[in-house]
């Protein structure tokens, strides 16, 4: 049984704005699935429908085996949700917030307290647990938000832009925690506008643009769909023409600039050595080699016709 399943899922708002336009989706159990797209692409609307916060206006969806409309309460028992911008009450302390979350999920008082303490330790917030959330940095808030979503040990975890606005160190901390959760058996559905995040974390990536799922696969396959890695060769002497005649035997030559030779290698890194050997045998001395992999941004550009432009991360925060 898939952890998440959507069929022709749609959401049209009052005024006729269609935020999600017939998305089909299947996320396997224990998978990390990233929904990649720019602001306004429909990512948050999709998450809100899958977490029962918003009713679809068309299609259907099941999460953890339950229908998001007719079995919404069962869905809510099975999921953990950390929404965009970490919706935390700045006047509550971290401990109070996790304990409230435990109450919301029906944990007995003692069990809730024990779970809260364990989670605060897990996300390294023990020292700050009795401080008001308003004094926390962005990274601490996200860690607290993540911890509070885990208090009832959900089967499926939804993270809506979990690292938007965070500095690289805080972002990496969240990634490590998400990977650890996944290793422990949690299915993770995350939305992101960061290519690197999708590339590093996700088993599969869905690219959403203008409410439509325009591509979906593993990051490697998505990149492979738009081309193979390219080898950029610089030679000591000005013998680019001779080099091109040689490398054409190993892959499709591509237009290049600055006297470099560019060739698309089907075999990727394994195809580099034969090229170098052939150049060497021909008496051409290689100055530098650079194997350039296609990026998810290349994929995004190919599929949507425009680049992904994420928000700038926040700077200067102190934990």
């Amino acid at each position: 049984m898939p952890a998440i399943e959507a069929n022709e899922l749609e959401r049209t708002f009052e005024g006729g704005v269609q935020a999600v336009a017939g998305v089909d989706l299947e996320v396997a159990d224990r998978e990390i699935y990233a929904f990649l797209g720019p602001n306004g692409a429909g990512k948050t609307t999709m998450v809100r429908m899958l977490t029962t916060l918003l009713r679809p206006t068309g299609g259907s969806a099941r999460v953890a085996g339950y229908d998001v409309v007719t079995e919404a309460a069962s869905v809510r028992r099975a999921i953990g949700v950390a929404l965009q911008e970490a919706a935390l009450d700045p006047l509550m302390t971290g401990r109070e917030l996790i304990r409230l979350q435990a109450t919301l999920h029906g944990l007995a008082r003692q069990e809730g307290h024990e779970k809260s303490d364990a989670l605060l330790e897990r996300v390294d917030l023990v020292d700050a647990a009795d401080r008001q959330v308003g004094t926390y940095s962005g990274g601490m808030r996200r860690r607290l938000d993540l911890a509070s979503a885990l208090v009832h040990e959900p089967k499926v975890l939804f993270l809506d832009e979990p690292t938007t606005g965070l500095d690289p160190v805080s972002r990496r901390t969240i990634w490590e925690e998400v990977e650890q959760l996944n290793r422990e058996g949690t299915t993770v559905f995350l939305t992101t506008q960061y290519l690197e995040e999708a590339d590093q974390l996700a088993n599969r990536v869905g690219i959403i643009d203008d409410g439509k799922l325009v591509a979906e696969d593993t990051p490697a396959q998505l990149k492979a769909q738009i081309g193979h890695p390219r080898l950029e060769i610089r030679l000591v002497e000005d013998v680019a023409e001779r080099a091109r005649e040689i490398v054409v035997r190993f892959g499709r030559p591509l237009p290049s600039k600055d006297g470099a030779v560019l060739v698309e290698l089907e075999g990727g890194a394994t195809g580099v050595a034969p090229v170098v050997r052939a150049l060497d045998e021909a008496g051409l001395t290689v100055e530098s080699l650079d194997l350039v992999e296609p990026t998810l941004d290349d994929v995004f550009l190919e599929k949507t016709g425009h680049h992904l432009e994420p928000e700038e991360p926040e700077t200067g925060e102190v934990e």
Binding site: R11, L53, S74, R76, A87, L91, M92, L100, G106
Partner: protein, 260 residues
């Protein structure tokens, strides 16, 4: 309503109370403003009790206590609405809506907090009144009855504030009701007997449900309990409460259906 829902209501109510004490600007309208108004009016208009037709009371402070309590409770209801709207604006309500609880428990939790604050404000004003020379004719049972009415008023007025918050999702809109609170107050018998008002204020005050509630709170202070006054107060509270809670339920349903 499950046992978990009841625990959630209690937890959210406790959160509301803590929130109010941690942000002094939320406490000011509930305690500070009504206390200042009580002091000013009592000091400045104390001889109003000598007017022909003024209800027989020991002193003007005894008459004014109910008005101060209801002012505090109206403002607590308004503040509760503002806090709920802030929760909606910052997305905290989504956290609650994503949990496996009755969704109306979220509203009831807020109302429980408002009711608790109203109860605390009633105790505060009873203490202030007794210290500065007011007396409660019905003694301890009378004081308990006053607290009972004020707590119920907290639920009723809190429901109105919550309904506006849920319908608009905007703290500034709920805050915009603030002046309206004073219009409703001054067009009731909260601060002055309706029998001594000029028309049309006298007629409006006579039928204003707030007047019935105020009279219910005031009754044990100035005389023995009058059951007709008690009944009218309960009826007015039931009416305001039904409107507030009913509108809140409708607004919540709409918000869940439309997503905003």
């Amino acid at each position: 309503m499950t046992a978990t829902d009841l625990r959630v209501i209690a937890a959210l109510g406790a959160r509301s109370v803590k929130q109010t004490f941690r942000r002094p600007q939320l406490l000011a309208p509930i305690v500070v403003f009504p206390s200042i108004l009580l002091a000013i009016q009592t000091a400045g208009a104390g001889r109003a009790v000598d007017l022909p037709g003024f209800p027989p009371v020991d002193n003007f402070l005894s008459f004014m206590l109910a008005g101060a309590m209801i002012q505090s409770t109206l403002l607590a209801g308004n503040s509760g609405g503002i806090a709920l709207a802030v929760d909606i604006e910052m997305g905290f309500t989504d956290r609650l809506l994503a949990a496996p609880i009755s969704r109306f428990a979220i509203v009831l939790g807020r109302l429980a907090g408002t009711a608790a604050l109203a109860g605390l404000s009633a105790i505060w004003f009873i203490a202030v009144g007794l210290i500065f020379g007011a007396s409660i004719q019905e003694g301890v049972p009378g004081a308990l009855l006053m607290i009972f009415f004020v707590v119920l008023s907290g639920v009723a007025f809190g429901g109105i504030g919550a309904s506006v918050a849920l319908r608009t999702g905007s703290a500034s809109v709920v805050q915009g009701l603030f002046p309206l609170v004073f219009v409703i107050l001054f067009l009731s018998s909260a601060f002055f007997p309706d029998t001594l008002m000029l028309e049309p204020a006298a007629s409006i005050a006579k039928y204003n449900p707030l007047s019935f509630i105020v009279e219910g709170i005031r009754d044990p202070v100035i005389s023995s309990i009058t059951w007709s006054v008690f009944g009218k107060a309960i009826g007015a509270l039931a009416l305001v409460g039904a409107i507030g809670i009913g509108l809140s339920a409708l607004a919540l349903r709409r918000r869940l259906r439309t997503g905003g």
